[in-house]
């Protein structure tokens, strides 16, 4: 009952917008059955519960609509690009490019972030956190001139006369008329689909966590210990990874300056990141920490794709990054402390440590997720 009320309220709220043109009576959809069924989001038992906003409950039909919209190039100005053009399943919903390229061949300035476990990202989306929710985020690329370069007015107009979409909107949201189809409902549907992009729990790391203690070899286990700051008692250095990539989703969804840019002052970052969005100079050069799940599938790395391999990433941290006024204080503390130094210096990591960390990162690969038929392109 609550579910139905919430769904009804959501539809009512959304349908106040995008009034039809005068004289446009739309198409009556009431002959199509509206029977919303809650979608059960499948997650590993050891994962946190999935946050779902009360004003956008996930339904079977909502996910189906969102999935089609996500993969449909109808959203772009020339019908050549969809969301999936930059977020492909085989790349764990990245495009494996340093920076993404829009329909006009213009390169963006940042790399496409993985959408794996994006439902848990409740502290802002995009590298700079400028979008507060998946519902808000889904609206933006369509009208971005260097991405899909379209307008929602055009998109909604095409969806209204499409042979398939009016019925899908009816089934997903209970609208009575095509004139009630809006960009907000489209965004809600895509957000529903994105919230089901959850790890399968079958990576080797997950199997280790669930009791298969022999599944990691010695190197991988050493890497895990360094990653999670557990290795001190067995003589391993601290790699400081988990502070920014913590929890089971391996991201705190917080913002850090991880030492990518040498900057004498806070104004010297070519890409101000978080600070460019919120105007706080002390947030310049900070970016959202991405999930490390499936990290082996998402190269290249960092917001600008500067590192081609995980070896390069680990080398960056082992060398304690580049200096700037707000570099995170944990970055220089990778390695063993060097006795007698004041201020205390850290050794960085040796070759075997780096190798172990990279091997551990490969245990996070979840091919069951990327091959899940329920999240693939429905048009093939």
């Amino acid at each position: 009952m609550i579910f139905m009320l919430a769904l009804g309220a959501a539809v009512w709220h959304s349908c106040k917008k995008d009034d039809p043109a005068p004289g446009d009576t739309g198409t009556d959809l009431r002959s199509i059955a509206y029977d919303p069924k809650p979608y059960t989001v499948i997650k590993p038992d050891h994962f946190p519960q999935v946050p779902i906003p009360a004003d956008n409950p996930i339904t079977v039909d909502g996910v189906q609509l969102g999935r089609r919209l996500f993969y449909d190039p109808i959203l772009s100005g020339d019908s050549t690009q969809s969301c999936a053009s930059c977020h492909l399943p085989q790349g764990s919903f990245t495009d494996n490019l340093a920076v993404s390229v829009g329909i006009d061949g213009i390169a963006g300035r940042r790399s496409a972030m993985s959408l794996l476990n994006i439902a848990y990202a409740t502290n802002g989306l995009f590298w700079d956190g400028r979008s507060p929710s998946l519902e808000d985020q889904a609206l933006r690329p369509v009208e971005d001139p260097i991405e899909m370069h379209n307008t929602w007015t055009n998109v909604v107009a095409k969806l209204k006369v499409h042979p398939t979409y009016p019925a899908l909107f009816r089934k997903a949201f209970g609208i009575n008329n095509t004139n009630e189809m809006t960009k907000e409902l489209a965004a809600k549907a895509m957000a529903q689909f994105e919230r089901i992009l959850i790890s399968s729990g079958t990576s080797r790391f997950d199997r280790y966590l669930q009791g298969e203690k022999d599944i990691l070899d010695d190197d991988e286990l050493d890497g895990k210990l360094m990653f999670f700051e557990e290795g001190g008692s067995v003589g391993l250095p601290d790699a400081q990874c988990f502070h920014c990539h913590g929890g089971l989703t391996l991201t705190g969804n917080q913002y850090f300056n991880n030492g990518l840019t040498e900057a004498a002052t806070l104004e010297d970052f070519p890409d101000k990141g978080r600070g460019g969005f919120n105007g706080k100079a002390t947030d310049n050069g900070k970016f959202r920490s991405p999930t490390l799940r499936n990290i082996a599938l998402t190269a290249p790395y960092m917001h600008d794709g500067r590192f081609q391999t995980l070896d390069e990433v680990i080398e960056h941290y082992s060398r304690h990054g580049k200096n700037s006024p707000n570099k995170d204080p944990l970055i220089p503390q990778v390695g063993y402390p060097i006795p007698g130094t004041s201020p205390l210096q850290y050794t960085g990591l040796n070759a075997s440590h780096k190798k172990a960390l990279v091997k551990f990162l490969h245990t996070l690969t979840d091919t069951t997720f990327v091959n899940n038929p329920d999240i693939q392109n429905p048009f093939f």
């Binding site: 519960q49 409740t122 502290n123």
Partner: protein, 290 residues
Amino acid sequence: MPQLCRPLVPRNSVPGALKRVCYFNYTSGTEFRGTHYNMKKILFSGLLFSLFTFSGCLEDSAPVNDVTITFKALYDGQPLEKYKLYDYNTYRVQFTRFNAYMANIALMNGNTPLPLSEIGWVDFTPDSAPTDKAVDVSVTFNNVPEGNYTGIRLGYGVPASLNAKQPKDFAPGHPLSRENEYWLGWGSYIFNKIEGQVDLNNNGVFDGGLIYHCGSDAVYREYLFDLPVSVKAGAAEIVVEFDLKKLFVINGAWLDLNNPYNHITSNDVADVVIAKKLMDNFDAATTVKQ
């Protein structure tokens, strides 16, 4: 008004005679928020809460009132500000993060606790804050029976019974559902995070990070603060201040940041020396007043 403080030993806090009052379930797990940023949510929650408590308390004829506790972060008596340089002994420090779990909050009537909240998370330096100034974090407890209370109990961290759980055990939005406040390797929540840097030579160059992440059952602490709290018709307010300067002056001596091993709580869950020192000193760093 200065307060007297004493460690709560032994810890045998049994909820008092007011256990029947329905709001205890509601106040279990409070996501304490900066008051400036979530008024809509607070109002909505307040409405729901009012309906809930009203319907549940019809049989309770005791007068009911609101008690608001506001947590503040200070350094040397002044509101804390991220990235600001502060004098620290002969050095200079800056802080970049300060958050903490607060547990088992109760008003005390002599030795009898009136539980208000089982657990809450106080973030003085949220990413969403519009400036680098630490935010004040307020939480209001409704339906507190009228009376003259003698003090307040504060728990610092996550009690063992809750620390045995994991974020997956809590619904989204519950303070203990926060993944980045859970230390997977240690099997513990991170009771508090205090991060920053130190400039040992006063030359404008930071010489080391300060990473105090206290966690594990061994460092959970509860303290009682003597403070007359009169709850009657209208609202009562209690202010809880944490002064980081006082936190780092332990038994009259500064935690020596020239010793680099004092820059972190520990790398070993079995040997959380600095974490224990800080958690033992949180009572001295806390001022409770009305």
